[in-house]
Subunit: 338 residues, 2 copies
DNA sequence: GCAAATTAGGTTATCGATAACCTTATCGGT
DNA sequence: ACCGATAAGGTTATCGATAACCTAATTTGC
């Protein structure tokens, strides 16, 4: 039985020896800097290949003070919305040799601060962070202490960092209010959860109510701080709202998931949609357009936001100019629920 | 106008000076190792705090040969399935001070190899990688050359690394076949895409067909290599399949999204489900249970797989024993489409 | 044909932190 | 009082790669 290969690590030095050059030369060849003849360059590459050399980026970054990853801080990687943004970001970063480091805040400012701290300790080349969160003071200080570009996404209302890419959630709320008003609904409701944490959702709520109230109407709200922002919360809150205000003829939900959850319950409860009650959501997730029921919603170009953010980051790193404010507006999608 | 603060970087040395100790002492205090008196410990902590010291993990990792991140390689972070797995992993890693580095292969072996290379260069403390991909030979070599634990997820059929957490997709395919047979369907179809890339989906397909054929029946397949694995492909392929085999009375789809897409089309086309045609998907995504139509599917505990993977990784890092094979079976969910 | 410019490659000093090892005090026990 | 054990903290040598600078050999221009 063999002793197993001596896991003798391969460093620049080992490659250099095999190619008969200095380690600096290898470093230059592998990064394509400096001037090295075609011949030795080939020899070095071959040596590296034969030894299966894998560079140690930690050492490299420490020395060059240029790291190869970008921190991306979002509320949750499991939420379709942010998952798609994340994917869009990563798609644009990887071709530039940048790795994506993720952090999930769960909409919690304290957790965000903690994440920021550990991320900054990794000396990221840049940071992409989701707005719309109750940031701690120390969190803000950490953000300023950063090196490299800072892109804030999702929330266009709250500016911070070099570039801001997102939408005005307040305007989005107003947009949906306008739709309800144009349709002539007059007993209007709103259903949401966790607005104390998710500032963007809160802004949508405020914009919605604001617009409705401008017409003299009022909005019946059912807001529960502790329920999840998911389908399951839809039925619960809808039922509560309808008990308090049975005359309600239209409800705007925090997101599509809750709207769809509510629709399911409304169907079972025999409430016709939109005959008796209109329903609208937010996000434009694929689940909003399923089968017979297509939820009226505002479709946010999620992947597009991510791509724009990744692009902005690499552009800045390359010294290009980037528009500091990029509005990416949601698109109104008329379904058959309103 | 002030010149702006000299962004004088704070290193261990600066903290040490302010606290009147050596930098080694600061290092020990901040990591809680070595023996330092309560008094100096306090003094050091305060100094670090006042200066807003943020450690440089790159230097730390280089020196200690222990990095603080884990590479997670999945097909796509934007796909609900893997997004939830990713989130589960991250949830378990962060409390241990481990950061999650993501890589998206898009089911492409060559891309996977490239990602592996850059990930390994960051000296990750461990690796969690999705199975069911056509791995390149060099990719396999890279995986062996790694340091630290390697957890493979999603695909229990193909073992590799220290721990394997996932399901047998072949079994899953057979399970759904059994359901169709029990219901007495006899003209059975299968619809899928990209099976050449997604080995797991291919396994489900094989298991499904295998089980059906055991009864002497055959399966009409509509498989298109180049269409996306999304809702939009459902209608296209369903229409094609029904043209070729109008008598088909049940179809198993590659995933829920395609099944739901198909349902929408079937409804418009006036095909009653499950009266004339039964439909089943795979994954148990929330979109499968919307409103009036609840797709029959196999629900995979996605977050659970992620959590188990994260847990296994940290367990191994702490020297604990971990079961090398953890089967996480999907749960059959009877909807009203079959 | 010779000085200047360019090419090809090597030397040396960090980057910021930690492992491993050392040096003093301080404290009991006998 | 003396010796070994423990506590508290400091010294030194890396970790693996790169920036910055330097040297020698060619090439180029006129």
């Amino acid at each position: 039985m063999s002793k197993g290969k001596p896991p003798q690590k391969v460093r620049l030095t080992e490659v250099a020896q095999r190619a008969g050059v200095s380690s600096m030369t290898v470093s230059k060849v592998l990064r394509g800097t400096g001037s090295i003849s075609e011949k030795t360059s080939e020899r070095v590459k071959q040596a590296a290949d034969e030894l299966g050399y894998v560079p140690n980026s930690l050492a490299g970054s420490l020395s060059s003070k240029k790291s190869t990853f970008v921190g991306v801080i979002i509320p949750s990687a499991g939420d379709v919305i942010f998952a798609e943004i994340l994917s869009g970001i990563n798609e644009r970063l990887r071709p530039h040799g940048l790795n994506t480091l993720i952090g999930e805040t769960l909409f919690d400012g304290v957790l965000e601060e903690e994440i920021l701290r550990t991320m900054l300790s990794l000396q990221p080349a840049g940071l992409i962070i989701n707005g719309g969160i109750n940031r701690t003071e120390r969190g803000k200080v950490l953000l300023e202490r950063r090196n490299g570009p800072l892109i804030q996404i999702w929330d266009a209302d709250d500016s911070c960092g070099d570039v801001n890419i997102g939408l005005s959630h307040r305007q989005a709320g107003r947009r949906m209010a306008r739709h309800f008003l144009e349709r002539g609904y007059s007993s209007i409701g709103y259903v949401g959860t966790e607005l104390q944490k998710d500032i963007c959702a809160h802004q949508r709520f405020l914009g919605f109510v604001e617009r409705i109230e401008e017409t003299g109407l009022s909005v019946t709200c059912e807001i529960e701080a502790d329920l999840p922002r998911q389908a399951s919360s839809g039925p619960v809150l809808t039922e509560r709202l309808l008990q308090r205000a049975p005359e309600t003829d239209a409800i705007f939900y925090l997101n599509d998931a809750m709207a769809v959850g509510a629709l399911s319950w409304l169907h079972d409860a025999g409430v016709s949609v939109p005959g008796k009650l209109a329903v609208a959501g937010f996000n434009g997730t694929s689940l909003a357009h399923t089968i017979r029921t297509r939820v009226t919603t505002l479709d946010v170009p999620r992947r597009g936001i991510g791509e724009a953010a990744g692009q902005a980051l690499t552009d800045i790193l390359q010294g290009h100019d980037v528009a500091p404010h990029q509005r990416i507006d949601p698109v109104f999608v008329a379904g058959n629920t309103s």
